[in-house]
Symmetry: C2
Subunit: 458 residues, 2 copies
């Protein structure tokens, strides 16, 4: 099921460097920068009519090759936007200059999601150039707002449902949970986020002249943030766990059978021990349990004042059964119930509210993907795993297009996604292209052939 | 006791604007900038041999006029360095451009301490120009490191004790506690400060892929910071209050007699209620009780990570009886005793450790100063108050020179010291100069004459 001639991984790096060089940080970048990244991608897809499409926010890129009548149709999804860099001083090399170090390449977005997305574009190009056709009908949708919660995607999908219809969505976003063996993700967590804003006096006050007399917003915020968890690690917000099914003995047994070196895992992160909800193993917590994390906190500084305000940034990863709106409401109620005399406390939820997503392990796309990975990694059967990360698009595709999403990314969870020194493994370029080739051929023909539904053309 | 011709307050503003324009932020500024501020001040003192003097850190300015043999000798103290601006967006006008708005002038350092220091320099200039002499011997010492805890002052005073000897130190730093009547400060609080640094994994971790598995430094820091106070507002650190004498019924009665509009005070700060150590009135807390404030907190940001570190900046204002070293040790022990599995917690004390300072209400300098204020504010007797702020120099002068310090500043506590939109009242320029004139004449001759000690010449 393979046959395309691929270049060595290294030969793709110069081109990928151009893509990384565009600082398409969806939270901060101006329109011109986002457009530059979208246009670069559209040009790569020119063989399939690649074009930049307005969304009301940052633009998307669409393309389609529909020359295989009777064959199934897939929609490839990914995103060209990236996370903010955080402090530049924490990067070993400039984040928007692709740098090579041994077997890895480093740069903001290289593993989330520019590298994995680049793979599939190059695979399609190779089919078109070497065989003059693709094995099945392929549509492409790459958005520019994934890292800010895909705020314009729902309306965009509703408006373009006809053009985007497919038998299966395959996401180049997502990734394998570790580097030691191939894996397929059959669930991803949902996401909600909010700010807790505590305000005191109308300005910063000299801590000597006013200390001990008025409430200090940092003290009150600390109290609130500390109250969000029990000391044993469980989330203390009443109602947070509502709606979640108990973990079945069968699922626990499955997870227990996954080879997992807890000590090595923790050592790799630089921590001496695990911490989290009691009563669950690390893998159970990662795959099956929701979390609440304070992602950041700020207020005042290193000067002798009582700061007039302090802010905590909170986000939650959700599992099936949790209602995003209900989780926001539960946190808001919890925060407002904390006694904080002398300050005002506001909870400011962000717009995006993404529920958790699952694809059944028995879905035909999973068996095809397992077979495709078996071609590239013949000695290592693919594990079925869950993903702590969130892909808002998946539930949107299900709702707008009625289509399940297969995650098929060659990113690995240890590649410092969203953090300084984000990286990607060079060998994954070749492995990923070979796997995409195999997957498309398997879905097009043979025992794993995807049954085509009635879908609209482009 | 007055007779100098003073210009209108406004006429001094152009000159003061030059001084404000030099951004002499001792925490951040380069040597060139600090030197420029020191040189400006030395030029103003040229009639008294004004000169820039090295200290091992930011330079100091010294000068002396010693042409009154047999008269007492005073040492005037102040500082030309200023606090950082904080966020520029919170300033109504650029912090280093003196701006006039009605009866006030605004700019970083205008009330702490460039404006109050400028007053005394202009008073001395007026004596020299109009009378050809000063009523008593005056030495000047203006330092450039007050806002960072005067780290080089102890050694500097020890080295220059001979040159700096005086019968009394008069500080142009300090200030009145409110604008409604004159007041004299008979005590100032001490200061210690430290950082609490909580570190987790070796880098920021994607909150989806690692959430719920490792300790979050922001959660742990919040827990630690929240533990520093009881919910009733008292400091919860064991040993923090050690060594402090009980507030006597007499002192409580004195404080209770000070007219104080609690509602108006709180309203002016923009808060709806007071908050602090229970069992004490607002004035008792401000003047007699120590405080512990978290001045700032930072870690992570508004992106979906588990931050690898979080930092809290803490400072304490101390009262007589508290030992600065013991307070640092008590806080460190408290912090280290908080159970925080999965993170490392470090307490990093700052160098400066300043004990509280007092001058007896019966000291002759207080009666002379009371009389001098009576000349300028004949209808309002001066209150004797305590200051929540800290002047490290005072206890250093007592130790190195054996000399008490009289606070004689025309700054007011509401003038947004250390905060954005720091300001100073224009009328205070004339009032302050007149008061300095009266004070010097009173100390030189008549019933308030300061008894000269054996002091070394300049």
């Amino acid at each position: 099921v393979t046959g395309l001639r691929l270049d060595s991984g290294d030969s793709y790096l110069a081109e990928l460097a151009e893509f990384i060089a565009v600082p398409s940080v969806s939270r901060d970048a101006d329109r011109e920068t986002m457009l530059a990244a979208a246009q670069w991608l559209a040009r790569q897809l020119s063989f399939a009519g690649g074009r930049v499409v307005e969304t009301g926010g940052h633009p998307a890129v669409m393309a389609e090759w529909l020359g295989a009548p009777g064959a199934p149709t897939i929609l490839v999804y990914g995103h060209y936007d990236v996370q903010p860099t955080g402090s530049l001083s924490e990067w070993s090399t400039p984040p928007f200059e692709l740098s090579v170090e041994g077997d890895i390449i480093r740069g903001r977005g290289v593993t989330d999601d520019k590298g994995p997305l680049y793979l599939v574009v190059k695979t399609a190009q190779a089919f078109a150039a070497q065989e003059g056709e693709l094995p099945l009908n392929v549509k492409f949708l790459f958005e520019g707002e994934e890292e800010i919660g895909s705020p314009h995607l729902p309306e965009f999908l509703a408006e373009h449902a006809g053009e985007l219809g497919a038998d299966l969505v395959i996401s180049a976003d997502g990734g394998m949970w570790r580097a030691s063996e191939p894996s397929l993700t059959v669930a991803s967590k949902g996401l909600v986020s909010l700010d807790i804003v505590v305000a005191g006096a109308h300005g910063d006050l000299h801590s000597g002249r006013y200390g001990g007399v008025v409430a200090n917003p940092v003290h009150e915020l600390s109290q609130i943030l500390a109250s969000l968890h029990h000391r044993d690690g469980a989330v203390a917000v009443a109602g947070f766990y509502d709606g979640i099914a108990d973990l079945s003995p069968q699922r626990r047994a499955e997870i227990a059978q996954v080879p997992f070196d807890e000590t090595g895992f923790l050592h790799g992160l630089g921590v001496s021990q695990a911490r989290g909800e009691p009563g669950y193993s690390i893998l159970e917590r990662l795959w099956e349990r929701p979390t609440l994390e304070v992602n950041g906190v700020s207020g005042g500084g290193k000067y002798t004042v009582i700061p007039h305000a302090a802010v905590g940034h909170v986000s939650c990863r959700l599992v099936p059964g949790q209602n995003p709106d209900a989780v926001i409401d539960a946190i808001a109620a919890h925060v407002q119930a904390v006694d904080a005399p002398g300050v005002t406390v506001r909870v400011v939820p962000d717009e995006a509210r993404v529920p958790a997503y699952t694809i059944p392990a028995a879905h035909p796309a999973i068996s095809a993907a397992t077979a495709a990975l078996g071609v590239v990694y013949p000695d290592q059967p693919a594990l079925l795993t869950c993903m702590g990360g969130t892909l808002p698009a998946t539930s949107l595709f299900e709702r707008a297009l009625g289509t399940k999403t297969l995650f098929f990314s060659f990113s690995v969870a240890d590649e410092r996604l969203h953090a300084p020194d984000e990286f990607f493994r060079i060998r994954r370029i070749g492995e990923g292209m070979r796997a995409w080739e195999a997957l498309w051929r398997l879905l097009a023909d043979g025992p794993h052939r995807l049954a085509p539904r009635e879908v609209s053309g482009g």
